[in-house]
Symmetry: C2
Subunit: 592 residues, 2 copies
């Protein structure tokens, strides 16, 4: 079927249902960042493969709303005559809500599958439309009956995340969630986010690309717990182990279990931003306590065992990165490489390390102008040649049994210009400024972030993405609630694990970004009885390109930080490197 045929078929179903508009967002029922193939309905309908983008189909038109990361890709992939591209963030682009209000009349109805919209968003959209006399109607999914070759649900086996990596048993985690149930005066908590479920039960799976999670729902009650997933994924050993603390039921039984909570008038805690509307519909009769899932916050605080694992994983990841950068420098002397060659080799060096389980996201390698496209990937991009002169940006990460990594390095190919050095150094100053500033416990990332931007602002430059996201341990590379960005409202405490990645981009020319993962630690020297202080410690171990640094722009404190960091990189990695690579690393990490 062509896009035009798919939209036409959708319109026939809409007419039958009495709908004047139908929404196909990119969400799956678990509101995951990475959606399994079987739930990529928006991609099937529109042909657009980006991770973010919502489709609205009207009787006479259809639109896709996406953000600046995907403008180019959407223009390339969309059939523009059938689906119009709405570029979010541009001053003249209406939001999808504004457009619904503009196009629809009083008495008309908008349809959506309640499984692919959060309770919070459903409530807000209902209110917005209601005020204009338009109805939001929850219907069965209209795409599914049209989608002939829809892939089946993934069926890979699940694994146990060993206690020696997790540092806390599932029983202990359940006990902590139950304490929160008591505090919130609730009988049960419905867990819908896949990484929260994986963390809680110490299980890992293969259902979703890059994220080792399992498609499942869970209910944690005060005495019992239920886990809803495809039982064929659970081997005999896993079954025996899980039985100790959770009742495993099939994924399809979740809806009935939610209904049962409603029938017995339970007080149910849900995270309205993370739970789909379909779940809430089934809770009729229950008293709903809306609150951020306590698991989010627990998961964001890594315990000592996890931190040890993260340190180990980063040491191996650093070895892989140094091997890779060393290979890259030497190979470029001999032959031409394309971006995809570079990305594949980067992934390959990681795959050689112990306990590696694959990349933690699609490796970004952008040469020159491609480095300025923030979510560029050589696969969906142009796969350019790496030239003799220019800036190369590499953002990659790995999943290891003991940790997740995410690192960006920007290197110069050939001699950099003065302007390139200035911009790289301003990004580095921002990185260091945030990395080295102590802060009171419970400070928030929204407030700290600016320290990474100040040096760029002084140079008249701003970047359009956040400075840091929370990272899981052998789990999602993006996780809430902590971070360094305008959305990071959660108080920071020791054990939080976050990326620190200021950048700077010049369209058509180059992009710079320097990213380490940092862990929040207690600053023992500064802490007093009245005030606990925290500091950031970099776990990522990899040299920062000295050829791109303009030393005159660094303050003494910034230079000291850099030299100490490089000395640590050398000290921790060189024992694991061949003499030749170690000698190369010594040059890369020499003091400036």
């Amino acid at each position: 079927m062509t896009t035009r045929e798919k939209i036409a078929a959708l319109r026939r179903l809409m007419k039958k249902e009495g709908l004047h508009a139908y929404l196909v967002p990119s969400n799956d029922p678990h509101l995951s960042e990475y959606v399994p193939e079987c739930w990529k309905r928006r991609q099937w309908v529109s042909g657009f493969t980006g991770s973010a983008g919502d489709v609205a189909v009207f009787a006479n038109e259809a639109g896709l709303w996406t953000d600046s990361r995907y403008f180019l890709q959407a223009e390339r992939q969309l059939d523009g005559e059938t689906i119009k591209l709405f570029k979010l963030g541009l001053p003249d682009t209406p939001s999808i809500d504004d457009y619904l209000i503009k196009r629809l009349k009083r008495g008309q109805a908008v349809g959506i599958d309640p499984q692919v919209i959060s309770e919070e968003r459903a409530a807000a959209l209902t209110k917005t439309l209601d005020e204009r006399g338009i109805r939001l109607r929850f219907t069965p999914n209209l795409v599914d009956p049209l989608w002939d070759d829809r892939p089946p649900m993934p069926r890979g086996a699940i694994d146990r995340h060993a206690d020696r990596f997790a540092g806390e048993t599932a029983e202990a985690k359940l006990a902590r969630v139950r304490e929160e149930l008591i505090k919130a005066d609730a009988d049960a908590h419905i867990v819908t986010a896949l990484d929260a479920i994986a963390w809680l039960f110490n299980i890992r799976g293969t259902d979703v690309e890059f994220n080792p999670v399992v498609i499942a729902y869970a209910i944690v009650g005060r005495k019992n717990a239920e886990l809803f997933l495809d039982p064929t994924k659970v081997g005999a050993k896993m079954q025996a182990w899980l039985k100790g603390f959770v009742k495993v039921r099939s994924y399809e039984e979740a809806g009935d279990a939610f209904r049962a909570l409603g029938k017995r008038k339970a007080r149910v805690m849900i995270d309205a931003g993370a739970t789909n509307r379909w779940v809430v519909e089934r809770l009729k009769g229950a008293t709903i306590r809306r609150a951020p899932s306590p698991i989010q916050k627990m998961k964001a605080v890594k315990n000592e065992t996890q931190i040890r694992g993260l340190r180990n994983a980063h040491r191996r990841d650093g070895v892989a990165m140094v091997h890779f950068l060393h290979w890259l420098e030497n190979t470029l002397k001999e032959r031409t490489l394309r971006e995809l060659d570079v990305a594949e080799k980067c992934d390959a060096f990681r795959a050689e390390e112990a306990m590696h389980r694959g990349p933690s996201f699609d490796t970004i390698v952008g040469f020159g102008a491609n480095g300025a496209v923030v979510h560029y990937s050589p696969v969906t991009g142009e796969n350019a040649k790496v030239g003799k002169r220019g800036i190369l940006l590499i953002d990659s990460g790995g999943q290891y049994l003991d940790g997740t990594t995410d690192i960006t390095r920007t290197i110069t190919i050939g001699e950099p210009s003065a302007r390139e050095k200035e911009l790289f150094t301003r990004v580095l100053k921002g990185h260091i400024n945030l990395a080295r500033t102590p802060f009171p416990r419970n400070m928030t990332g929204i407030r700290l972030e600016i320290l990474a931007r100040q040096a760029l602002w002084e140079g008249g430059v701003e970047y359009g993405h956040g400075t840091g996201h929370g990272v899981g341990q052998y789990l999602s590379v993006h996780e809430g609630p902590v971070g360094f960005s305008p959305r990071a409202l959660a108080p920071l405490e020791p054990g939080n694990f976050i990326s620190l990645e200021p950048g700077c981009y010049s369209t058509g020319k180059y992009g710079f970004r320097t990213e380490n993962l940092v862990i929040v630690v207690k600053d023992k020297k500064r802490s007093t009885k009245e005030q606990e202080w925290c500091a950031l410690e970099a776990l990522t171990l990899c040299p920062i390109d000295r050829k791109l640094i303009e030393p005159a722009l660094l303050s003494n404190e910034e230079r000291d930080w850099l030299n100490e960091y490089h000395a640590r990189v050398m000290k921790e990695l060189s024992p694991r490197l061949a003499p030749e690579v170690s000698a190369w690393l010594a040059e890369q990490t020499a003091p400036i």
Copy 2:
């Protein structure tokens, strides 16, 4: 009546009404920061005179909840046997909501006058109590029938805020509000905040201490506007002028006018955080559109005429401050002063300046340990002697027809210690760091604030108050929505007028704070077609005590900022000073 008798009488009324708890918050019907005498019910009931503090009366106990600014004062003023002090912010102190839940049983009821609680807070409290089967009941005020010598409503005449100061006619402002009505699909906006009403109609009054506002409600419709206030305050000339764009009705008619909106099913825009519950009760039948009042944002952007007035007012205020500081230095050589002597003289120098209309808040003069009490005032404090050695903190401001000022200077009496110089300089570094950093238009104060804290954090010191609040023009010295604090979520744009006041306090020793008012201006040098940049420009003109500065702690950029600021202070003020004072100022502003 003693506090004990008042509480006993309240309990009798509660019993009659079937209430198990009764709330007496410090709010008035306009949710003002400064409450007119006739509405200081919480003060009458409890004897506590602080600006923030809520009383809850139960059958067998009563409590006052207040924050750390007022712990000492509340302890001194409360009859502790009758009313228990709950110190908000301490780890073991329950919030008033938590305490209500803890003390009351299912089926019981809490009473409150709907005039003294915002719609937003009323909804949240109702929900919290409902979930526990407790009812929040809106009753007529139970304090008023007991309060025999209650002062009458203030009756001072209102004045016109001349166009040559306002820079925009009331008609033009009404037209802008009407544009917002259309955008929000609303028929009318109810304005309840007194400073919003004063701004909108270009009127000023004398009803509230420090804030030149008038007690009033207003309704702005698409074609007409109504202003509800005591008509005896309106002289014949004012009456003729107002008639051109607003219908003046008595304050008591407001309730009926709100009811009329409900009856004709109008779509009414209200700011649920700023509008009391009583107003909303009267709107039955209306469609309510909840949104921040558009007036808040408009009022926060000063136009060119206003900025010219603010500049002029700050020049006069600077002259007064220099005279005052010069007098202080000389007088302390000759005789002993108490804090109150200093405060009165500070106010007196201001009163000599043209267009002065009184202080913009209660002048703070704190010597030594008193400087560490953030909202100390010599009137409610101990009025200590200013000693031969120590740190003196002075925070004061004036109302002028063309502007409002607010300035803090910290000076040393005698030779400062190295530690005092270090702390003062770290505060100054913070002040300069925020003052000199350019930022993209629409940046928020919550994100920028940290720049003022970083230097203190590096020294292991934090302060417990925000770094800046919005300031009105001949209006409230505290106004929303902009600021530099965790609550400042509004995007900044040219014309915003904000205080910048980092500090540092050591209990029992001293307090440091350096405050200027700054205006957001367009940074023309940095701005491009794609990105508009903003910068902060200090309007406050007054020397910063050089004796307290440790030059070795300043970066070159910080030293340059300070020297340029001091050169500007000298250049702008010296033509208005007697030669002797000008010579003194030259010493104070000499480059370091």
